[in-house]
C-alpha cells in the first residue's frame, strides 16, 4: 500500500464579491515509501495549494473548503483534528519551502529554529538539542555548524539558508517530505547542490519525497513518477522515462516543447504554449486547457474530459491526445493551423484525429483516445527537440 494516497482532493476559495475559485479540483495521486513523486505545472496550477492542504496549513477560514481524502499511513490528513495534525507536522510529514530567506524567522538565531522542532517532537533540550542541531547542520552540508547555530538568517547565503530549512525539515526523520519549489529562489549552481542533497537524504533515509516544481529539469533529475497539473487537475501521470519519451497530453507536450535545447538545429524555434494560465476554462465546461490547445476539437468543450488509462500504466485527461511515438506520420504537414511557430502537436494533426473525435463528439469522450492509443503504425520521424 502506498504511504500517501490522495484521492479527489479539492480546494475551493470562496470570497464575497469575487468569483469562486477551485484552486485544486479533484487531484489524485499516490506516493510510495521511498519514492520521489513530482507535481509539475505552471504557477497557479494548484500545486502549492495541494501541498498546503496536505500539511493542513491552509488558513482555517469559512471561505476555504478542502474536500477529498489524503490517506497517510491510515490517517486522513484532511480530516484529522488540529492537535493531532500539529503532532504529525514536522515529525511524520515535513515541508521545505520555496524562499529560504522569508521562510526563516529573521529575529531568531538559526540554532533556535532547529532546536525548537527537536524540542517539540523529540523532547530534546539544552545541550543535547544543540548537539543534535549541529549534527543536522553538518549533515545538510553547512560548514562550521557550531558557529552557524548562533547566526541569524540574514547572515547566511541563500544556499546555506535553504540547507538550514532542509535541516529543520529532516530533523525528526519524517516519512514524507514535501518540497515546494525548493530551488526556484536559488542560483543555478546552488540549485544543483540542493537537489543532490535532497536526493542523498531521500536515498539514505528512505523518506518519500513529493517534489513540487515547474522545472522539468528538476523532474528529469529526481522524480520516479510525475504528475502534470493544469488548472487544479492532474492532466497526465506517468513514470519519468515514458513521460519524457512520449508525452500524451498536449499540455505536457507543450511544457516539454518550451524548453530550449542545445542540440536543436539552427533556425529551429522553440514551441511555446500560446496564451497564459489565465486563459482557463472552468473544468465543468470542458477541458480547461482547450483555449490554449492546438489540438482542440469540439469534444473538448461541454464536458470535462475523463482520465484515460493506457495499458502502459499511464493516465492522461484528454479527448484528443498526442499520438505516441510510432503513430502514423502526418499525411499532410498541416496547413490547417496557422500556428506559425511550428508547435509540436501540429505534426500529428487534426487531419486524422479530428474526424475520429468528431464522430462521437456529443457522447462522453472516454473512449475517444483509445483507438488513437492503439494505433501502432510505422515509426514516424519524431523530432528529437520536442522530447
Amino acid at each position: 500500500m502506498a504511504l500517501l494516497d490522495v484521492e479527489d482532493l479539492s480546494v475551493t476559495f470562496r470570497q464575497r464579491g469575487k468569483r469562486t475559485v477551485r484552486a485544486v479540483d479533484g487531484v489524485s495521486f499516490s506516493v510510495d515509501a521511498g519514492e520521489v513523486v513530482g507535481l509539475v505545472g505552471e504557477s497557479g496550477c494548484g500545486k502549492s495549494v495541494t501541498s498546503l492542504a496536505l500539511m493542513g496549513l491552509l488558513p482555517r477560514q469559512p471561505g476555504i473548503a478542502v474536500e477529498g481524502r489524503a490517506d497517510f499511513d491510515g490517517t486522513d490528513l484532511l480530516r484529522v483534528d488540529r492537535r493531532t495534525m500539529r503532532d504529525i507536522r514536522g515529525r511524520d510529514v515535513a515541508m521545505i519551502f520555496q524562499d529560504p530567506l522569508s521562510s526563516l524567522n529573521p529575529v531568531i538565531p538559526i540554532g533556535r529554529q532547529v532546536t525548537e522542532v527537536l524540542a517539540r517532537h523529540r523532547g530534546l533540550s539544552g545541550d543535547a538539542a544543540r548537539k543534535e542541531a549541529a549534527e543536522l547542520l553538518d549533515r545538510v552540508g553547512i560548514p562550521d555548524p557550531n558557529r552557524r547555530l548562533k547566526e541569524y538568517p540574514h547572515q547566511l547565503s541563500g544556499g546555506m539558508r535553504q540547507r538550514a530549512l532542509i535541516a529543520i525539515a529532516v530533523a525528526c526523520r519524517p516519512r514524507l517530505l514535501i518540497a515546494d519549489e525548493p530551488t526556484t529562489a536559488l542560483d543555478v549552481t546552488i540549485q544543483a547542490q540542493i537537489l543532490e542533497l535532497l536526493k542523498d537524504l531521500v536515498r539514505d533515509s528512505g523518506t518519500a519525497l513529493v517534489m513540487i516544481t515547474h522545472d522539468l529539469g528538476v523532474v528529469a533529475g529526481m522524480c520516479d513518477t510525475v504528475n502534470v497539473l493544469y488548472a487544479g487537475r492532474v492532466v497526465e501521470t506517468a513514470r519519468r522515462k515514458p513521460l519524457f519519451a512520449e508525452p500524451r497530453h498536449p499540455y505536457t507536450v507543450g511544457l516539454l516543447g518550451s524548453i530550449p535545447r542545445l542540440d536543436a538545429g539552427r533556425g529551429e524555434r522553440l514551441s511555446p504554449i500560446r496564451g497564459s494560465v489565465r486563459d482557463v476554462l472552468p473544468w465543468a465546461d470542458g477541458c480547461a486547457f482547450a483555449p490554449r490547445c492546438d489540438r482542440q476539437v469540439d469534444a473538448c468543450l461541454g464536458q470535462p474530459p475523463q482520465l484515460a488509462l493506457t495499458h502502459t500504466d499511464r493516465t492522461y485527461r484528454c479527448v484528443n491526445p498526442v499520438p505516441p511515438a510510432g503513430s502514423p506520420a502526418p499525411a499532410s504537414p498541416t496547413a490547417a493551423e496557422p500556428a506559425a511557430e511550428g508547435i509540436v502537436p501540429a505534426q500529428a494533426t487534426a487531419a486524422e484525429d479530428a474526424p475520429a473525435a468528431v464522430e462521437d463528439a456529443p457522447a462522453p469522450a472516454e473512449d475517444a483516445p483509445a483507438p488513437v492509443a492503439e494505433r501502432a503504425t510505422p515509426p514516424a520521424p519524431r523530432e528529437e527537440e520536442s522530447a
Binding site: R278, L281, D285, D298, L301, A361, P362
Partner: protein, 329 residues
C-alpha cells in the same frame, strides 16, 4: 434524424464556446488596461469605510458651501440677549426650542446657525493650513528627495542640510511649535492656519523625500538614466508623479488633524479672537466656562469636529489601503 439535430446542437455549442472565449479575453483586457489610480479608485468604491467617509465629507462640504445661505439667523445676531432669553451671567442659557433648534450660545446667538456657518470656517482653516504644510513640505521634501536620489555628492549634501532642519522641527513638540508661532504672529485666523500648517511641514517633507528616494532606486529610473534622459526630467517627469500617492493620502489625514489642532490652539486662547465669526474650535473653546450650565454648547462643536475629522480619516485610511501595492494583486 439525428444528423440535423447534431448539427444544430454543434452550432449552438460552437457559438457558446466562442462567447465563452470572448468573455475570457474581455475580462483579461479589463484587468490589464487599468492604471494604478483607476485600480485604486475601483477598490475605494468597494470599501465601506471609504463610502462612509465620502458621504460624511460630502455632507460637510454641502453644509460648508451652501449652508450659510440658508441659516435661519445671522451667526452674529445676539438675538437671545435682545429678547431677554439669555442671561449668561445668571447661568441662563436656554436649550433647544422650536425656533432655535440647538438653543443659544452664551452671547445669545443662535447655536444652529453658528454651527452651520462654522462649518465653512472650519473647512477653510483645515484646507488652507493643510495646503500651507503640503506646499512647504512638498517643496522641501521634493528638493531633498530629488537631490538625494539623483543629485550625486552635492545632492546628498543638500539633502542632509534640509533634513537636519526638518529633524529640528520634529524635535519640538508640534503644539509647542504651533503655540510659539501663534505667539509670534499674534492671535488671528491667519496665525492659526500658518501655525497648524507649519507643524505638518516635516511630516510631508520626510514622506515625499522617502518616497522619492525609494522611486529613484527603482529599475525604471535606471532604465531612463541609461537611455540618456536628463536627471531633472527624470525627477519631475517620472520620480515625482510616482511618489505622490503617500503624500496625497497624508494630506487627507492631515486635514483631520489640522481641524483638531486648530481647535487646540483656540482652546489655549491663541485662536481667532474675533469670535463673532464662528469656527468650531473657537466655539468649543468659548463654551468651556459654561460647561456646568450647558455642556451641550461644547458637545455640539466637539461632535461636529469629531465627525468631520473621522470623515477625513476614514477616506484617508481607505485611500492608503487602496494605493498600497502590497495589497494589490
Amino acid at each position: 434524424m439525428v444528423g440535423p439535430m447534431t448539427i444544430t446542437e454543434r452550432a449552438r455549442k460552437k457559438a457558446e464556446k466562442l462567447d465563452r472565449l470572448g468573455e475570457l479575453s474581455a475580462a483579461r483586457d479589463e484587468e490589464r488596461g487599468v492604471s494604478l489610480w483607476q485600480e485604486a479608485f475601483r477598490r475605494l468604491r468597494r470599501n465601506p469605510a471609504a463610502i462612509v467617509g465620502t458621504v460624511v465629507l460630502g455632507l460637510f462640504l454641502l453644509v460648508a458651501i451652501v449652508g450659510p445661505f440658508f441659516v435661519p439667523y445671522a451667526p452674529t445676531d445676539t438675538i437671545g440677549i435682545r429678547e431677554g432669553l439669555v442671561k449668561s451671567g445668571q447661568g441662563i442659557i436656554p436649550g433647544p426650542s422650536g425656533d432655535h433648534w440647538f438653543g443659544f450660545d452664551h452671547q445669545g446667538r443662535d447655536e444652529f446657525s453658528r454651527l452651520v456657518v462654522g462649518a465653512r470656517q472650519t473647512l477653510l482653516v483645515g484646507v488652507v493650513s493643510t495646503l500651507i504644510g503640503l506646499a512647504i513640505g512638498a517643496l522641501v521634501g521634493g528638493v531633498a528627495g530629488a537631490a538625494a536620489g539623483l543629485g550625486g555628492r552635492w545632492g546628498r549634501w543638500i539633502d542632509t542640510a534640509l533634513m537636519r532642519v526638518v529633524d529640528m522641527m520634529l524635535a519640538l513638540p508640534s503644539l509647542l511649535l504651533a503655540v510659539s508661532i501663534a505667539a509670534l504672529l499674534g492671535a488671528s485666523l491667519t496665525t492659526v492656519m500658518i501655525a497648524v500648517g507649519v507643524v505638518s511641514v516635516p511630516v510631508f517633507a520626510r514622506l515625499l523625500r522617502g518616497s522619492m528616494i525609494a522611486q529613484a532606486n527603482s529599475d525604471y529610473v535606471l532604465a531612463a538614466t541609461s537611455l540618456g534622459v536628463r536627471r531633472s526630467k527624470i525627477a519631475i517627469g517620472h520620480v515625482l508623479p510616482n511618489s505622490l500617492a503617500p503624500v496625497i493620502v497624508q494630506a487627507t489625514l492631515t486635514l483631520a488633524t489640522a481641524i483638531i489642532e486648530a481647535a487646540a490652539l483656540s482652546f489655549l486662547g491663541l485662536g481667532n479672537p474675533d469670535t463673532a465669526i464662528p469656527e468650531w474650535g473657537v466655539m468649543l473653546a468659548d463654551a468651556q466656562p459654561y460647561l456646568g450650565i450647558r455642556p451641550a454648547l461644547a458637545i455640539y462643536p466637539a461632535v461636529a469636529i469629531i465627525i468631520t475629522a473621522l470623515g477625513f480619516t476614514l477616506l484617508g485610511e481607505a485611500m492608503r489601503e487602496a494605493l498600497d501595492p502590497k495589497l494589490r494583486k
